[in-house]
Amino acid sequence: MPINQQASPENCFHCGLTVTTGDQFCAELNGKQAHFCCPACKAVAITIVDNGLSSFYQFHEANQQAPDALWDEAVFAAFDDQAFQQRYISHSQQSPDIAQVQLLIGGMHCAACVWLLEHYLLKLPAIEKVSVSLTEQKAVLHWRLQDLPLSEICRSIATLGYQAEPYSQNQLQELRQRENHQALRRLGVAGIGMMQVGMFAIALYAGALQSMALEYRDFMRWVSFLVATPVVFYAAQPFFIGAWRGIKMKSPGMDLPVALAIGLAYLASVKATWLGGGDVYYDSVTMFTFLLLTGRYLEMRARHFGGRLTTDLNSLLPSTVLKVNTAGKAESLPLFKVSVGDTLLIKPGQIIPADGSVLEGSSSVDESQMTGEFSLQSKAVGDDLVAGTCNGSGVMTLLVEAVGADLKLQSINQLLQTAQSTKPVIARMADKLASYFVVSVLLLAVATYSYWHFIAASDQAFWIMLSVLVVSCPCALSLATPAVLTAATNRLRDLGLLVTQPYVWEKMTTITDVVCDKTGTLTKGELAISTVLIQANLSRQQCLDIAAALECYSEHPIAKAFVGQPKEILPVNDIEVTHSAGLQGVINGETYRLGSGDFAALLYGDAAASLPSDAEQGQWLLLSSTKGPVCWFRLQDSLREDASALIAGLQSQQLQVHLLTGDASGAAQQLSDTLSIDHCTAGATPEQKLHYIQQLQANGAKVLMLGDGINDVPVLAAADVSVAMTNASNLAKTHADSILLSGRLMGVMQLFNVAAKTRKIIQQNLAWALSYNVLAIPLAAMAMIPPYLAAIGMSLSSLVVVINALRVQRKALQPVSDNTLPPVFEGVAANG
């Protein structure tokens, strides 16, 4: 309905309805020609205007927007606004023309809606991928933005009868509140109706026994009719809408049998009431509605509870920030106006509003939002800050490096979305089963009625058919898997572990071998130079400068040890990186190599380099030139606190643990011995690592690879499941099935535990859903389930599934209890 009704000739000037009678009723009001739908409107309008109250129409107009107008053109157009899109739409790194958006979908209430939306949206041109989550009431779309504007998508969703708007936590809250209120209202109407009609029904049954006078019986029936009518048309509305939607899309969902049962029982009753004969079923109509709505309401509450953990940046981040302007003064600015390169002032206790690095000042930051790790991280000049984390007690200025959809926390969400966008095989099978299911139930209902009516000649045939329609619950079947997976993903996200691939859940339970990388994985990867042994005629600083210049081309954790060491930045030419060996480059006309002793020694012609004899054991790097060795650096790394607990935990689960590292020094073997790792392979090149994994797999092992996710990409990819230990800054470069952001190795144990639990609960859910339907439907067809029990059974069966799924999310789920583990290995392990 256009907002300006007075200007458009097709709407009645007075009441705003569409004028379908042409120019029949016109009048001149205040010098303007006005159209009316009927003489009455015309008469009223003339009366009002003649009495000098034409201002009434100005007041009137503002209130004339129908609820549909909430979703009118202006709103949809806003979806295409540039600033709006910057906030909500992100572009994938692999193919920049594919845009991704999260939409909040209102009006979804069961797995059939999910199916419907996914299939409908995939039929639209330009849409690449769609995944709809019922628990989060969210749809994630990947599509070609230039071919199809966002407004167009939202409009198509609206024509399906759902509301779509870009996702934000506030809007989700609002939507949930709205749905909650509406559900309670419907439930109230159904409940009161059920009680009233129930009382009349008792009177009617009693009357039937004592041969009640017809006029009293009819009176009772009429009153029941009056009470049941709003229950059917208002309270039971969602079932009818759902059923109609399903028919329209030629994919009948679980609403269809229910709507049929309610509709048929109501019509049969109205007919009996009107004609004064036959049976009335008002009591069952209201009872069905009430019980099914109760089930749905409880299920909705459970879903709302389950979906609350998603991180939503738009509600997390402050709406205004303090920007340091060119004059050095801080001024307040709305967040969406901040752009890359701005300098922001971060006060104590403030949420960091954008990704960037510390420009001035220092503080400690709570990054639990990001990593699940609650201890404060100290930040100094140059350190990375991540939007959404919380500043401690210091004051800092932040140089903005990313805003909007490019934020790191956003890419975490995106990774999680991808994981949830592909359904595991088992869920796809359940979905398929559920869609055949409804048709079978309808056929079965017809068969049941035919049998009881024609062959058994029972007057109960109608009842029995109603039971069959109501008792079946395909919903439990399609909910069984996705509900559990969402809960499990949320649970791990809470612990700082991102699961990015859906097959992780299926494969985790088959793992037999765990292969760990060393540096940055079992150790902290924070290497420091502990000893410098100079072999040539150079100062210590000169050696460090050359090494640092070379290492700035490496992404290996070793490189970090050299950051901050050089006095001057030397230019490097012809840089060459050799995996797990070292680097080579030309500085000031001299060729240098930095890396393992053997690699560096080759430059000056020696096959092997020898350490000075007085040197202690550890991880040594050699810097060499074409003339000979230049300098030895000894690097030291510390073991992660829980590395020992992890290895012990894995072994207690009968898993073979392998240490596979490129480090050729004795440190690897030493570490392996300390941690009593089953197999140790040191000094492996990436090719050898890959071969090692493939060899294991060829022998029938299922391998979980734990690495840093950046240097081990091909190895990680070869493993059945890969877990990367990484921090947020490297997230974009990380390729792994799951990512451990917390830096706590025990997260891997959690992954094993949650995966096992997830699998168990999925099996339980599917078993429950299948056996419920397989048992209940034949029993109902055999007239052994009265309709009220059928309604209770159906409501309970989907409720059981959702509540069971939520068990995964419970905090009580602890990994291995501590007393089964040896005391946590402490102290610095062998070097590296």
Binding site: C12, H14, C15, G16, L17, T18, T20, T21, Q24, F25, C37, C38, P39, A40, C41, K42, A43, V44, I46, T47, I48, D50, N51, L53, F56, Y57, F59, H60, N63, Q64, Q65, A66, P67, D68, L214, E215, D218, F219, W222, L226, F233, W274, G276
Partner: protein
């Protein structure tokens, strides 16, 4: 006549009031009783009391006319009933905006309204309950297809008490919507005016019209206990 009961009249009023909402939509502002204006909103009761009084009176008048007609020509009962049924169907189509035939009837009524309209001038803008009540009695005579159709029922039932009550029940059916204007949020009112709702309401009214037409034939072979039901509802 099983279906010409007070209950049905009430339901017709209820279903038809989606139309009334548009008609009398911003009326509360004319009454100075917009929800914001607090105490004045009670004027809506006086206004509706006046309107219902008018309906009751014209119902009684129609009933008397019906009685007189029936006394003179007993066969006219069938004709009156058929007209009532047809008008009811027309009303259904009118409420759902599928066929606006009733507007012809309204045009005839509009002639009458022209005589009444000047009287409203003295009452608007309303400043007290008496004026609101008076405005209600006049506004009840608006050329309204709904009122006319229900009036044809009153005519067909041909008993002045029953006819008056029928019209009162019809008016009472419109009350929930009309009274809510001063109180309920605009949202609810707008929802009632959605095309979908109007279609359903119109359809139901039309079905009642069809039944009105069909019932005499249907019941011809049955024991007619409609009189009992009839009196039953009197007692309500």
């Amino acid at each position: 006549m099983i279906e010409l009961t007070l209950g049905s009249a009430f339901i017709i009023g209820l279903l038809g009031s989606s139309h009334c909402l548009g008609m009398c939509g911003g009326l509360s502002s004319v009454l100075g009783a917009a929800p914001k204006e607090g105490a004045n909103r009670h004027r809506i009761f006086s206004y509706n009391a006046g309107r219902l009084l008018t309906y009751t009176v014209i119902g009684a008048v129609a009933g008397l006319l019906g009685e007189a007609l029936l006394a003179a020509i007993p066969q006219s009962a069938v004709v009156l009933r058929t007209v009532a049924g047809l008008l009811m169907i027309a009303m259904g189509l009118y409420v759902s905006q599928w066929w606006m035939g009733l507007t012809r009837l309204e045009q005839i009524g509009a002639i009458l309204w022209r005589a009444i309209q000047p009287l409203t001038g003295k009452l608007v803008p309303v400043s007290n309950h008496r004026q609101a009540f008076m405005l209600g009695t006049l506004w009840g005579l608006l050329p309204c297809g709904l009122v006319y159709s229900t009036l044809s029922w009153a005519l067909a039932s041909a008993q002045w008490q029953q006819s008056a009550l029928l019209m009162l029940a019809f008016g009472a059916g419109t009350l929930p919507a009309m009274l809510s204007m001063g109180y309920a949020g605009e949202k609810l009112l707008q929802r009632l005016r959605q095309p979908r709702f109007r279609s359903v309401a119109g359809l139901l009214i039309a079905v009642m019209g069809v039944v009105t037409l069909a019932t005499p034939f249907y019941h011809s072979g049955h024991i007619d206990h409609s009189e009992h039901t009839h009196h039953q509802h009197h007692d309500m």
